[in-house]
């Protein structure tokens, strides 16, 4: 039987569940069927949690019966979790061999908040190892294919989470974004990907890559769905000292208020050399759409944008070199047994980490090591101040920024073997992490038949405003109709 709900939205599913037109158990079985239909080609899933999901779906159906319209929006809706998010008793690998078989004895806060809403977890998604990468080619469990063209990358590092939504398996997933790892794959797969303000969503239970930059966020098909997921996962958590105590604004209250009278900045540095003409064209059209909706468009300058990449490639590796020290084969994970402890450390970590992870650990260790700290780490921390300051000044002038998410559309697997070329993928997303800002990527059309992402960036804690701008564009442009070819396969089946 054809799956009727593949490619649908949280909002539509939630309404149908309440009206009794579908059950959570049915939604789950459609999700599993479509996952199995597509995953041999896109490799989006690692652990499959079907038994757990069955129990959750049945419980969700009972809860909807019991609570009716009062049941949380996410109750009974299938979700996929990036495999850097810990879920009690479910294999969590971070796409690395070094913790193959690790079963966390606890559940992270963001995931727990979804479970509390009645979420149905269909599995853990493939990603770049320890969230380090921009193409999802750095996974120990193989690359992820882009549902628009499986020969192409889905972006990274949350490639599996992006692909699982783009293929229509789940209406939403969670990813993590350290330098663009939600927004860039969202752009490349034609999905909505949101990185909230740093400190908005608890990082407890997220396997850390770079602690001062990491933030959990959702992939969805619509901005409204993003608002629903954000509302569920955002808010203070006493288990994460960096999580903000400030009250969370409800983004749904302002979602429909439009952009008339808003001042939107277009940073000229984000349209520099290296931006594909097709990407530039779609983004400029999107900006025109926003202008037509009544926003005033102003060109602004963020002069240190280029330095952001260098800053990031000091700070993120430095933090990761320390964060990944715990993978030593003593308390968990796989150990290469050797004659001495030192040799065991060397062998375990030498064999357990993949090339990109080792490269970044080396880079970060070097940047922190005696004699180099001031020239690299301290300097990068200062440039970070400069970058954050430039954003702050621009936001005195405009309400939000609009720009491309990725300089290119999805590229072919294996096309970027040089690490430096790969690092350029994130040049437009990294500054947002360095400044701790909220940023969203949403589809703004196709170039060469592949999705292009529009990025909206707001001041700190103006997450609701970012969603409002994105929603206004989305509604006016009709891009919500964009779906990868894999979604249609379900209807044809």
């Amino acid at each position: 039987m054809a799956e009727r709900w593949v490619g649908s939205t949280i909002t539509a599913m939630a309404a149908a569940l309440r009206e009794g037109r579908v059950t959570a158990v049915q939604l789950l079985s459609e999700a599993i069927a479509h996952r199995e239909r597509t995953d041999s080609r896109i490799n989006a899933f690692l652990a499959r949690t079907d038994e757990l999901a069955e129990r959750q779906a049945r419980a969700a159906d009972e809860r909807i019966q019991r609570e009716g319209a009062a049941a949380p929006v996410l109750c009974g809706i299938p979700v996929a979790l990036k495999d850097v998010l810990c879920l009690d008793g479910v294999a969590t690998t971070a796409s690395s061999l070094i913790i193959e078989g690790f079963l966390p004895p606890y559940t992270g806060t963001a995931v727990q908040r979804l479970l509390d809403q009645g979420a149905v977890v269909v599995g853990k998604t493939n990603c770049d190892e320890f969230a380090m990468g921009s193409s999802n080619e750095n996974s120990a469990y193989g690359p992820v294919g882009n549902p628009w063209d499986v020969e192409r990358v889905p972006g990274g590092s949350s490639g599996g989470s992006a692909a699982s939504v783009a293929a229509g398996v789940v209406p939403y997933s969670l990813g993590s974004d350290t330098g663009g790892s939600i927004r860039q794959p969202a752009a490349l797969t034609g999905t909505v990907g949101f990185k909230p303000t740093y400190g908005r969503v608890s990082r407890y239970g997220l396997i850390a890559f770079a602690s001062s930059l990491d933030q959990i966020g959702p992939f969805t098909n619509t901005v409204e769905d993003t608002a629903h997921v954000y509302r569920a996962i955002a808010g203070h958590d006493p288990l994460d000292s960096t999580s903000s105590t400030a009250a969370v604004e409800d983004p749904l209250e302002t979602l429909h208020e439009g952009v008339a009278g808003m001042r939107l900045g277009v940073p000229s540095e984000y349209f520099a050399e290296g931006l594909e003409p097709g990407v530039r064209a779609r983004v400029e059209e999107a900006i025109e759409t926003l202008r037509s909706l009544g926003a005033s468009i102003e060109e602004v300058s963020l002069p240190s944008t280029d330095a952001g990449l260098s800053t990031y490639y000091i700070l993120a590796p430095a933090e990761c070199s320390s964060n990944l020290a715990r993978f030593d084969g003593v308390r968990f994970g796989k150990r290469s047994e050797e004659a001495s402890l030192l040799r065991s450390y060397l062998a375990t970590r030498g064999a357990g980490f993949g090339p990109e992870v080792k490269r970044r650990i080396m880079l970060g260790t070097y940047a922190l090591s005696s004699g180099y700290y001031d020239a690299y780490y301290r300097k990068a921390q200062k440039v970070r101040t400069v970058i954050a300051g430039e954003f702050a000044r621009v936001f005195e002038q405009v309400d939000a920024l609009v720009c491309p998410t990725s300089p290119t559309v999805a590229f072919t697997q294996g096309a970027r073997e040089d690490p430096l070329a790969m690092y350029l993928c994130d040049v437009l997303t990294i500054p947002v992490n360095l400044a701790g800002l909220p940023g969203i990527s949403l589809p703004c059309g196709l170039s060469e038949g592949l999705p292009v992402g529009l990025q909206v960036i707001g001041p700190r804690f103006q997450d609701a405003r970012v969603l409002r701008v994105a929603h206004a564009y989305e509604q006016a442009s009709g891009v919500t109709a964009l779906r990868s070819p894999m979604v249609a396969e379900a209807a044809a089946a």
Binding site: V84, L85, C86, T92, A94, I99, F102, P104, P105, Y106, G108, R203, Y204, G205, L206, I207, A208, A210, S211, S212, P238, L239, D240, S241, T242, A318, E319, S321, S322, L324, A325, R326, F327, D328, V330, R331, F332, L341, L342, Y345, T365, L368, S369, S370, Y373, Y377
Partner: protein, 494 residues
């Protein structure tokens, strides 16, 4: 900061002086660990039972600061006369070791919680003021067990993370100490302060208080330092003294025989009475400190600091001075009575219960201390308790019983406890001070000891003592000695 010229002792005549700085690690007496909610009562727990995802360093977990640990560190810093800077933060100290679950220790590097303090103490009547460079806060590591307890020979080691994450203060002393005796006294006084303010239990044996030393020798009067050797594994006050004496002598011998010292870490081996080099093939350390991104910094304003200062109980030195002036005690008595906060509290408890200051001091220092030692039970935890002892001493003070009786009663009631007044009346132990009753006994004693009476009359004053003794014996110690004296003198003249 307070480098003071201290005459070098022990090295007199050699032309050298020793320069010693101590680093003391003290576990804080909090209920929960530094960054997670696990209990700090790890000592007798089965291995790896006192742990959670955070202190196990599991992927995805994050630290959350224990407010009380911060406050107790500030309290300590204030007790050690430190400045509390308005801004402080935690840093990661990165190194690999199996007792360090995260591969880094959360510690403090360039902006510690406190700086520039000092500790004053006396050695041989001289006052020594030793600088305290800093007091900072960090997390303790787990513990390792080696097959046969010898790390060199063990083919494998066992890791217990129960202790991992217990809040730990590092108290770094300036190199202001010149002798092993000063070092020992520094640790003794520091421990006393930590226990007084209730931040540490003072147990070097259990490792809740640990001490490392940096020792070097230089030409007496020189301002530059010699080659520094770090001494570890000194697990008692005695060990601190012996290890440093040994190390100073060892360094002197090397220098005097024309050799050069190597900068190294040496371990004190108690059973052999010597230090041995701990050089290993391990790589040189490069801890790659950087700010801990998982913990926001601390801004402790003056209102906070003053509030903590309000928690600061009277420190040992101040209490000793007050005891001398307020209770008229000698320096010796006061020093003994303030040795621990409990002792000093007991003393003030006795005085406030109506026991005269001098009487209370004599008994507490004498017989009470003897019994506490013999039974391994301090008075405040004995059956008699402070209230019982006060009741007993009030009976002495009012002359109801004499000293001998009081001592017997103290021995008897110390452990089981009881009401001294009730026992005295029940057994008729009250002092005999009835002139008629005593007069009869005195008459009998005089009649039976005419030789002593003659000696006394002949000028042998001490003969009176034997007569008093006879009266006491006849009354089973209950006679009022003063009255007996007076009656005897009255009857036999003199």
């Amino acid at each position: 900061m307070t480098t003071q010229q201290v005459e070098s002792r022990g090295l007199e005549g050699t032309g050298y002086e020793a320069v010693i700085g101590l680093e003391v690690h003290a576990q804080l007496l909090t209920r929960s660990k530094m960054f997670c909610g696990c209990s700090t009562a790890y000592f007798d727990a089965p291995p790896n039972s006192n742990v959670c995802p955070v202190c196990l360093g599991l992927p995805g977990t994050l630290p959350v600061m224990n407010r009380e640990a911060v406050e107790k560190t500030v309290l300590t810093a204030l007790a050690l006369n430190c400045e509390i800077p308005p801004f402080t933060k935690f840093d990661r100290k990165n190194y690999f070791y199996p007792d360090l679950p995260k591969g880094y220790q959360i510690s403090q590097y360039d902006l510690p919680l406190s700086r520039n303090g000092f500790l004053e103490f006396a050695v041989d009547g001289r006052t020594v003021r030793a600088g305290v460079t800093r007091v900072h806060l960090e997390e303790d590591t787990g513990t390792l067990k080696h097959a046969g307890d010898l790390i060199h020979e063990a083919t494998s080691s066992l890791v217990d993370l129960n202790r991992a994450g217990v809040p730990l203060m590092e108290i770094v002393g300036e190199p202001d100490l010149r002798t092993a005796e000063e070092a020992r006294e520094y640790v003794t006084r520091l421990r006393q302060v930590l226990m007084y303010i209730g931040v540490n239990d003072g147990s070097m044996e259990r490792g809740s208080l640990r001490c490392d030393a940096n020792v070097s020798l230089r030409r007496a009067g020189a301002s530059e330092f010699g080659t520094k050797v770090e001494i570890k594994n000194m697990n008692s006050f005695r060990a601190v003294h012996r290890a440093l004496d040994y190390e100073i002598a060892r360094q002197l011998q090397v220098l005097q025989s024309g050799g050069t010292l190597v900068q190294e870490t040496r371990g004190w081996i108690e059973t052999e009475g010597r230090t041995v080099s701990q050089r290993s093939k391990e790589q040189a350390h490069d801890y790659r400190y950087f700010p801990e991104p998982d913990l926001p910094p601390l801004q402790l304003d003056s209102a906070y600091v003053e509030r903590v200062r309000g928690r600061l109980s009277e420190l040992p030195d101040a209490r000793r001075r007050r005891f001398e002036s307020q209770y008229g005690l000698s320096a010796y008595e006061a020093a003994i009575l303030i040795a621990s906060r409990e002792d000093a509290d007991v003393y003030e408890g006795l005085v406030s219960a109506g026991v005269p200051a001098k009487l209370a001091a004599n008994w507490q220092i004498g017989d009470v201390a003897r019994l506490a030692n013999a039974h391994h039970v301090p008075l405040h935890r004995s059956g008699l308790g402070v209230a019982g002892l006060a009741a007993l001493l009030r009976l002495v003070d009012t002359g109801t019983i004499n000293g001998t009786t009081a001592k017997e009663l103290l021995d008897e009631l110390y452990i089981p406890g009881g009401d001294p007044l009730a026992v005295v009346s029940e057994r008729g132990l009250g002092q005999v001070n009835d002139a008629g009753e005593l007069g009869t006994v005195v008459g009998e004693v005089i009649a039976a000891n005419l030789k002593a009476v003659a000696d006394f009359r002949g000028g042998k004053e001490q003969a009176l003592g034997s007569l008093v003794g006879q009266v006491m014996k006849a009354t089973r110690g209950r006679a009022d000695a003063k009255m007996v004296n007076a009656l005897l003198r009255e009857r036999i003249g003199g």
